[in-house]
């Protein structure tokens, strides 16, 4: 437990110390909120779908959590050769402990980034239903963060260098985001998109987050939780297995 805590604390400290990284990673969500939110807002309103910022903000929050988590997972490739991780791999500590510490640390950082985007959304005019929304939203952000940190860790454990990185960004992370219902309501889209959204775990994260923050959930919130918890558990097991197989 002590070891998990120390590894977690390490990542949180790193995060709090790298202000440039915090600020840099907020550019994208800001662009989405302003460019898309205010740009498409009037069209959305005319189509009778209500306030677009209100709809979009949970999607952008989920996006931030998604990107930060996948990256902190992928960072493993670097870290195990040129960073601190190698030091932990020769320590008399089980690989599973290291992996759990790392995933918890990465997920915490991702939730931290998500909270900052919540604050930015509030500035952009987003309002949530009430104070009860806060713990529920944090819960969904934590689930999304855990799921995708575990996914990133699993992928990075199986990769030997950054050659495949671009591939993963373009064919996994970006589609995960764009086909999740973060940017548009899933109700009236063609069936192909609907089907893709259904097999995309982020859809349930965005949906749950939207529901928690006072919007309408497309799937049921219980479905969202069930899917997220199951997929996260599966990915943690897979990630733990692949992580334990890492040879340097």
């Amino acid at each position: 437990m002590d070891v998990i805590y120390v590894l977690w604390l390490r990542q949180v400290k790193r995060y709090l110390r790298s202000r440039a990284r915090i600020i840099g990673s907020l550019g994208q969500p800001l662009l989405f909120l302003i460019g898309l939110g205010f740009g498409l807002g009037p069209v959305f309103q005319k189509a009778g779908q209500g306030n677009y910022i209100q709809f979009l903000a949970p999607g952008v929050i989920a996006m931030t959590v998604l990107f930060t988590s996948v990256f902190s997972g992928i960072e493993l490739i670097w870290d195990r050769q040129f960073g601190f991780l190698k030091e932990t791999l020769v320590a008399p500590v089980s690989r599973l402990t290291i992996m759990i510490g790392r995933v918890l640390g990465g997920a915490t950082v991702a939730v931290g980034q998500g909270i900052i985007v919540v604050a930015i959304s509030l500035l952009a005019g987003f309002r949530f239903s009430g104070l009860t929304a806060v713990p529920m939203a944090l819960f969904f952000m934590a689930l999304i963060a855990l799921l995708f940190t575990a996914l990133g860790t699993a992928i990075a454990s199986a990769m030997s260098d950054f050659q495949g990185f671009q591939l993963i960004m373009n064919f996994l992370v970006m589609p995960t985001f764009f086909l999740s219902g973060a940017l548009f309501p899933l109700g009236d889209v063609p069936w192909v998109l609907k089907a893709l959204a259904r097999i995309n775990p982020l859809s349930y994260g965005v949906d749950g987050l939207r529901g928690a923050l006072g919007g309408t959930a497309y799937f049921a919130m219980t479905t969202d939780i069930a899917v997220l918890v199951t997929v996260t558990a599966g990915l943690l097991l897979l990630g733990g297995y692949l992580f334990s197989k890492i040879e340097l």
Binding site: E87, A91, D161, Q163
Partner: protein, 264 residues
């Protein structure tokens, strides 16, 4: 003299490529032992097997009498290692880097604090203990890594090309520290290098490795006598040939190149 490291018929292959081809050697407690060889000779692979990061294809490795494959965690408690590539957390201070290591090796808090102070003072880093590692020079980082490797009072210290990229003054100082530690704490030192003068100066015994085989081993004098060479450099070139080793860049080399672009 009891053996601290005993390697018998160690073989490590990757697919068709043989990195280490049937080597045997023993390192006594308190000895400074050097693995000397050209690039790609199998030095780092051997260290990785000795430090439980790789499993041997065949053969036996014993650290302090314990089988390295069967008693992984017990073996890990017994050595400290300084890797060829950096392994500090740049965003953490020197003290924090030490402290995390102490937690990973379950060094009790009280002992940890005393030992960190003692080691950082020894390596002349105590005044910089609250500075982040990213502000340290190459030599300071190396010193910090060695200090960290010694925190849990290991019986063996592995040093994989520890002086690569350091200037002569820093190298000199580093070896003075290592020899002092070896004398004061009776730490067995296993190091790899391709600098002959370093091996000759620091090590009591040297094994020359090439193409995954040990081609000669003994004290520097014995090696010279065996080959009839005047200097260790001549002995080394005589044994390993003077052709330059060209290898294709592997994924790791590609990442090293990236690392060079990104840092310093």
């Amino acid at each position: 003299m009891p053996s601290m490291i005993r390697v018998q018929n160690l073989v490590k292959t990757y697919g068709k490529f043989t990195a280490v081809a049937d080597i045997s050697f023993a390192v006594g407690a308190g000895e400074i032992f050097a693995f000397l060889g050209p690039n790609g000779a199998g030095k780092t692979t051997t260290i990785k097997v000795l430090t439980t990061l790789l499993k041997p294809t065949s053969g036996k490795v014993e650290i302090d009498g314990l089988d390295a494959t069967l008693h992984q965690n017990e073996v890990r408690k017994r050595f400290g290692i300084v890797f060829q590539d950096p392994s500090l957390d740049d965003e953490l201070t020197a003290y924090e880097n030490m402290d995390i290591h102490g937690a990973l090796y379950r060094v009790p808090r009280q002992t940890r604090a005393t030992r960190i102070e003692q080691l950082l003072k020894l390596f002349e880093l105590w005044d910089r203990r609250n500075d982040r590692a990213k502000f340290f020079s190459g030599g300071m980082r190396r010193r910090l890594e060695i200090a960290r490797g010694l925190l849990h009072t290991p019986k063996i210290l592995f040093l994989d090309e520890p002086t690569l990229g350091l200037d002569p003054q820093t190298r000199n100082q580093l070896w003075t520290h290592v020899r002092q530690l070896n004398a004061d704490e009776r730490v067995t030192v296993f190091l790899t290098t391709h600098y002959m003068e370093e091996a000759e100066r620091v090590a009591g015994r040297i094994a020359i490795i090439d193409h995954g085989r040990i081609v000669a081993q003994g004290s520097p004098e014995e090696l010279k006598r065996q080959t009839g060479a005047a200097t260790l450099e001549e002995a080394f070139l005589g044994l390993t040939g003077s052709s330059i080793r060209e290898e294709d860049a592997n994924p790791l080399d590609r990442m090293r190149n990236m690392a060079r672009l990104w840092r310093r």
